[in-house]
Amino acid sequence: MVPWLSQHQGISHQEVADHFEITLEQTIQDLMLLSVTGVGQYANQQFDVDYTGNKVRINDPLGLDKPFSLDSTEAACLLLGLDSLAQLPVQVTGFESEEIENLRNRIAKAVPLSEGVEVLPEELQESEIHSLIANAIAEQKQISFDYWNDGRDDVIRRTVSPSRLYTINQKSRVDALEHGKGWRSFRLENIDSLVVEKTDAVFDLPYEPMKTTEVEIEVPVAHMHVLENFTVVKRRKATKTLVVATVRVNDPRWLSRQILATGCAIKILSPNEISIKVDDYISQARSAYPKKNNSK
């Protein structure tokens, strides 16, 4: 904090809080702590920091005007971030992998980066799809493709206006507006037969992430690991054997598939309409397998 504040003299408390993404209260607390810290107990041996009047000014950083070297976590974060960028096509990042590699080598020589931390390359089969979508985004054209929704196990032809390409954990995605349905996020590995249309892209809805419903579910403690598959908003232990969790769901079909895959007694507590739909999907699945007397 000290070197950064030294370079941002007169910055407001709120700007410090925003930069470090901490609360205003925590910011004031940290500044107070800083003002009583130093090499000795006398005033001239401590950081001379003035944070009155909603402005922060470091008058004497006690020689600490450069940041300490990267710790192991920061070094690993930088390394993995660079590795991940290097795996992406130039159309997505705007950077050639060679540029990233050269930079990484320069930094590795100057800063102790963690060994044994790497993103393993994959054989991306979708580079042509990447290029087509990137071109469509640049030229603001609509695209059509067959999309396999593995949450529902169906393939539907879609026509969308693509907005941005990115990857999460090396799974490339495109955010696009599907007309009449809203914003969607599509995994490139599930896209097939893609065509760039002559029609111009239309963005008649402001960008917003896919809508989700908060669903309250009850999970046996012994099966708590299934929550790894969900975005969990909150959870609490209801009894010694049960946990109640609020999870985000955008498709009841997907939720029913998660429950079927675990084969355990996950109950939906609310909302009722989701519970009814999920029960219906599970009944359909059961119709494929006759019930045994000794089934769980």
Binding site: V39, D71, E74, L85, A110, V111, G116, H223, Y289, K291
Partner: protein, 320 residues
């Protein structure tokens, strides 16, 4: 070592007293080229002065280890009672570096990848440090992202210090966990999965673990640099056929327009999505059996009987 002992060894840095003492210690040890003896340190750093000599000694040794994890190395004595400890500022701080505009954008993009993870706070500090040495970029195209629910700080610390990482691990398809003590050799990411690998001390063998199957967090034990990192072929280690030592041949009925995943595995003609029956080997049974249950009734297992029973149990166990 118990969790309480671990906590004693590495107290959370959110503790203001610990942070203040550490900052004071760093400031003191960087302030003089000649360094300070233990008694001078005890007299000048308020956190130490209230403790007995033995407690101060323990606290000082622990603080040195915490600083070492953060790449701030306190010089080590050579047996001299009046050794003068110091931190050489030039080696502890980031070097002067200059970056082109493009390089600054690349560095910023690399830190943005962590915005949705529990490592976000580390990424902000990383960005701050880079900014302070001249990385100023308004690049905001969040093209590479990580999603990982586990706090990796302990993992990276163990790796960097070559200390043993302890955790409970749940094997695929099993509910019970087993205790693991890993000489961690590395962290790898592939296809959205995060892995740690190294030598499992309990089993005395090289093992790879999916981080999503670690239950209840990590602890670190043992001395620093207590083992050597050996070279391994990660691709071989990650090969699914090496991770599962059993396989099944199954017969599946695929309804029209359903079972895309299975059609793909069976290498069926992409244009043909009609109803059909296929035979294939399950390469990763623990995950594929769960998928078969989820894919019902569009995909139904016809044979062998024991697989039909496993999937049927999953389907009928669900929500019961």
């Amino acid at each position: 070592m118990t969790y309480e002992e671990e906590l004693e060894e590495f107290p959370p840095l959110g503790d203001d007293f610990v942070t203040e003492r550490l900052v004071n210690l760093v400031m003191l040890l960087t302030s003089s080229r000649f360094g300070f003896t233990k008694s001078e340190i005890a007299a000048r750093v308020p956190g130490y002065s209230t403790e007995s000599p033995a407690a101060m000694e323990r606290m000082f040794e622990r603080d040195k280890r915490i600083l070492a994890v953060n790449n701030i190395v306190v010089s080590e004595p050579d047996g001299d009672e009046d050794y003068r400890y110091k931190i050489v500022l030039n080696t502890a701080t980031l070097p002067e570096m200059t970056f082109s505009k493009k390089e600054q954008a690349i560095l910023r993009a690399a830190t943005l990848a962590w915005d949705n993870t529990s490592q976000k706070a580390d990424a902000i500090l990383l960005r701050t440090k880079l900014e302070t040495i001249g990385v100023h970029s308004d690049y905001s195209n969040n093209v590479a992202k990580f999603e990982i629910p586990i706090d990796l700080e302990t993992v990276f610390s163990a790796l960097s210090d070559r200390r043993v990482l302890n955790f409970e691990y749940r094997r695929p398809g099993q509910e019970d966990t087993t205790k693991r003590s890993l000489e961690i050799w590395g962290v790898a990411v592939r296809s959205g999965s995060w892995f740690i690998y190294g030598k499992d001390r309990i089993r005395d063998a090289v093992r790879i673990f999916n981080l999503f199957r670690v239950s209840g967090g990590f602890t670190i034990s043992g001395e620093q640099n207590s083992y050597e990192i050996e070279e391994v072929d990660l691709n071989e280690l990650l090969d699914p056929s090496n991770r599962d030592d059993f396989s099944y041949e199954v017969e599946l009925f695929l309804e029209s327009g359903k079972g895309e995943y299975w059609r793909d595995l069976a290498k069926l003609d992409e244009s043909n999505s009609k109803s059909c029956t296929i035979k294939l080997m399950l390469s990763n049974p623990s995950e594929q059996l769960a998928r078969l249950a989820a894919d019902a009734p569009g995909v139904v297992v016809k044979a062998p009987k024991d697989v039909v029973e496993i999937v049927s149990d999953l389907v009928w166990g669900a929500n019961e």
